[in-house]
Every structure is written in structure tokens, then in C-alpha cells.
Symmetry: C2
Amino acid sequence: MLKYILLGFLNYQPMTGYDLKRLVDGSTAHFWHAYHSQIYTTLRKMEQDGLVTSIIDNSDERLERRIYDVTELGKSKFKQWLGKSLTELPPSKDSLLVRLFFSGSRDRSSVLDELRFQRQLRQQQLELYRQIKPEKSPAESDLIDFDREAKFWRMTLDLGLAYEQMYLKWLDETIAKIESF
Amino acid sequence: MLKYILLGFLNYQPMTGYDLKRLVDGSTAHFWHAYHSQIYTTLRKMEQDGLVTSIIDNSDERLERRIYDVTELGKSKFKQWLGKSLTELPPSKDSLLVRLFFSGSRDRSSVLDELRFQRQLRQQQLELYRQIKPEKSPAESDLIDFDREAKFWRMTLDLGLAYEQMYLKWLDETIAKIESF
DNA sequence: AAATTACTTGTAATTATTGACATATAATTT
DNA sequence: AAATTATATGTCAATAATTACAAGTAATTT
């Protein structure tokens, strides 16, 4: 999946692994995160497979930057992937729920501490989402139909917002239930 | 993570890989799914690591069943894992959102078809959750404090229900938005 | 000026997960 | 009776993801 995210971003413009890491962190990480190590190694793999090319930029003298660009094959594979609709529910994974599921033997206070801490984190995440406003970066302005793109970005953000609010509500109810055991 | 799920279930009673697969499918798969191949290989790995032991049951003559049981080391590792609270948000992954994020260049109708199909699947999932009622299986009745366990199982199910409802609402709104482009 | 922290770029080893292949029995349908 | 589908049990190869290690530059703080 990461492969397609990287191709998607490289369709906008050529960039380095670090640029991609920042883009991922600021957008898709909310529904598909990746460590920088995975991004760098995936880019190398993609280059071997002919999906991207890279050139070394030495304009800085000191710092070597490897700039990746998508190839025609990469563009075609990306479109092909976008064309094949999902026919299943994406599997979800939530380790907090795994832990809660098996928490029958735990101290009530320990479970409550964990849930209250998660509540804090969820609250922060919600605040973070509320501050996000898709903005036109200069580089993107002419390369893509920004208004149309932004609409789709906004939709994914809307799910994030709804998700955090739902989760917070559930945490509150769950904490209350355990307190009343 | 799967390791701990398997240990958690084996704490209830010894069982085979297939038994575990069914238990996972019927419960934790909603927040942590696993293919049978992963379950069988993880069990082998756990046996090598001394977390479980296995005996071959030939009582059937024809069919060989390998029955796994948790060791003291396994029990201790499981408790240790439960004791260390999560201090971060579990990362979430949703390939539908990845696809939507990059859907700026797609035909409206193609995106709509995909979202409408996901709506169907989510609706089915919601119905499925609504039919789940934790019941006491004979084998479990004396081994664990079922009522307490069931409360925690119920909580994870509640999140599943809230999640599907939230997702359906978002899908409806998103479909409507795209229709009105 | 030195120390610390954040930024930037990667590699390597390990672990986890997926997808394909394989095989045999049991139950059901045609 | 034959064919098909569901049940049950696994292995193996490939891919994906995580964690740890490494090493240098840039910016900020003391």
C-alpha cells in the first residue's frame, strides 16, 4: 500500500524520501502511517522495479539528496491500482481493543488508567485534526487541480474527525461502565 | 500482537490452531484479524520460544490434531504484556481512505460505485455485530469468571457498533457530496 | 563556544503478515 | 454415484513493517 501512497505523491512532483515522509506524516499517516525507514527502503525497491527513478542532487555540496521521480510505468501502475475498486472491508487493527478484550483478569484501576490516558491522546488527536486546513502550496498550484484534490483530502479528514469523536464518546462510556463495576 | 491473542485464548483452555482461528474470527478479528496460515506458524514459533506446548491427538485415527497449551512462561509473558499499558495511539490503517485521498483524478462515477459498495459492506458488518450476543460456552463456564470477561468483550463490541454507524454516516455524507460536485 | 536538540538520510536485522500452494476428510448437492 | 463445497491442517515464499543502529548537518540553547 505504501508504494501507491508514494507514487501518488510523486505524481505531484519529484521529491526526496524525507519530503515524502513529511507529506505522509501530515496527511495519509492518519489512515496509513509509515516509518522513514520503510519509506527509504520502499523507494529503493520501487526504483529496482522501474516505478521511479532517482537522481542525486549535489547542489548543496555538503548534503547529498536523492530526488525521486515517477516513471511512465509508475504512473500507469498507479492508475491501474486506482481503477480497481476495493471489494472488501479494509481490515482494522486496534491493539487497545485487543488489550481490553483480555482485561477480565486485570485490576480495574490499571484498565482505567490506560483508558484515561488513551482519552487524552484521542482528545489531542481531535484538536490536531481541527487545526488542519488544506492549503495550496506553491509547488502544487499548477501541477494539479487543487480544488478537486482538496475536496477529497477534506473527506478523509472528516472521517478522522468523526472517528475521534466517536472514539472519545466510547471511551467516556466505557470508563464510566468500569468505574461502576 | 497475534502472539498475545493466542496466549489469551489458550489461557481459557488448550486447543488446536483451527479452534483458535474460529475464536479469532468470531471475536478479535473485528479489531485484529489473522489468516489461518499466520496462526499456525505463530503457534510453531511460540512453541519454539517455550510459550506453549503441543501434543498430537490421535484419538480420531484419521485426523491428526495438534493441541496447544500455554506454559507457565507463556502465562507470565501474557500477564507482563497486559501489565504494560499502551502509551500511544494505536496506528490505524484504512486503504479505502488512501484511495479516496488520491481520487482527485478519478471519474466521479467510479469513486461513487466504490463508496456505495463499501456502504453495503459496512451495513452488513453492522447487522453482523447486532446479532452477536456473548454466550457462555460449556467449556468456559468454570474456567474463567465469565460475567466479568463478557463485560469486556461487550465493550469491544460496542466500539465496533459505534464505528460502523459512524462510518455509514460518513459514507452517506461523502457520497452525497460527490454526487453534488 | 559548547552542548543539546531537531533535522536529514540512510542501512540492517528482525518480526509480522500476506498470498499461494498443498492435501485430506466430511457434508451436501446434483 | 459423482461433483462440489465446506472443514481442517498445515508449509513456504514473498512482501510489509518495525526496531535498532548509524552518522552527519542545522538550529537553538546555555
